[in-house]
Symmetry: C2
Subunit: 151 residues, 2 copies
DNA sequence: CGTAAGACAACTAATTTACTAGGGATTACG
DNA sequence: CGTAATCCCTAGTAAATTAGTTGTCTTACG
């Protein structure tokens, strides 16, 4: 049940963009350097986010990426769904619950449903703005070393 | 964030054992057939559970596996931890939060912590007995087709 | 025009997951 | 006793996913 690097890198990039929200585009090199990862890989992630209309890209010199959605209106659920395709822990509790042969009622399903519900609650209720805010406050308190964390 | 087949098969086998709790051991062929999977693979999973003292094995003819713990005292958390090694979604919110370089405070960590907390709540509070019970009631109502579900 | 950016596709490498094969050890039952 | 039914264990392999790289093309600013 691990979160992929895709989700982790992508989410952090979105938080970086939220912090820069309103101040013009942030370039890929800058975003990649912020996390210490390759530009090529992060670019793929940003493209997924662009397809989902969460970020927009400005081409040419002084270009970069920026959020198209106000951070306080952008849920983590939306971001992760674009990055991972789905946030379902098993197919039969995802969007199309009939992927798992119709009327699926296996012995573990009650558990899967409960788990998924709780996960979705958190993902839907947490906004990118909240995360960016928490982060900046921590930074202000000086407990912070940006490049230490690679969860 | 998908649950592995390891977890799904293993969990279902434990539920099968819970249903048979007190009636003697259930053999590997029977358990594997119940889910329509290979004996070889399920055996590996059961061995993990045995190492964690959740199941016990009786060798020889008429042998098989049985739970060593009363189903109502067996949490899903315990079962999944044995099957997957850990139920942490990212290393820095797992048992040893210092795996992720000490004092990790990356921008997404507040989210990870919240998510993990909710997940653990469900996993700790749900017992195998509950799941087995739900399942049997469903079965009694006849909505049930055991071999349909492959989440 | 030249340079700094993103767009896109295709390919590779690494890791994890899922599964298989096969020989060994133990025990109940006839 | 012997044999069939069981679990025990290791090693190997196949498949899928994840992670990352490379390279060429397009756009826009100055």
């Amino acid at each position: 049940m691990k979160l992929s690097t895709r989700s982790r890198y992508g989410l952090k990039a979105v938080i970086d963009l939220a912090i820069a929200y309103g101040t013009g585009p942030v370039s890929l090199p800058v975003l990649a350097a912020s996390q210490g990862i390759s530009e090529g890989y992060l670019e793929q992630l940003l493209r997924s986010l662009k397809k989902g209309n969460v970020v927009d890209a400005v081409r040419g010199a002084q270009g970069g990426y920026e959020l198209t959605v106000e951070p306080s209106k952008l849920t983590v659920q939306r971001v992760l769904t674009l990055l991972e395709g789905s946030t379902a822990i098993v197919a039969c509790v995802g969007k199309n619950i009939y992927e798992c042969d119709s009327a699926c009622t296996c012995s573990a399903r009650p558990l899967f449903l409960k788990l998924q519900t709780r996960i979705n609650e958190v993902l839907e209720r947490t906004t990118i703005h909240e995360l960016a805010d928490d982060y900046q406050q921590q930074k202000a308190r000086g407990i912070f070393d940006k490049n230490v964390c690679r969860p």
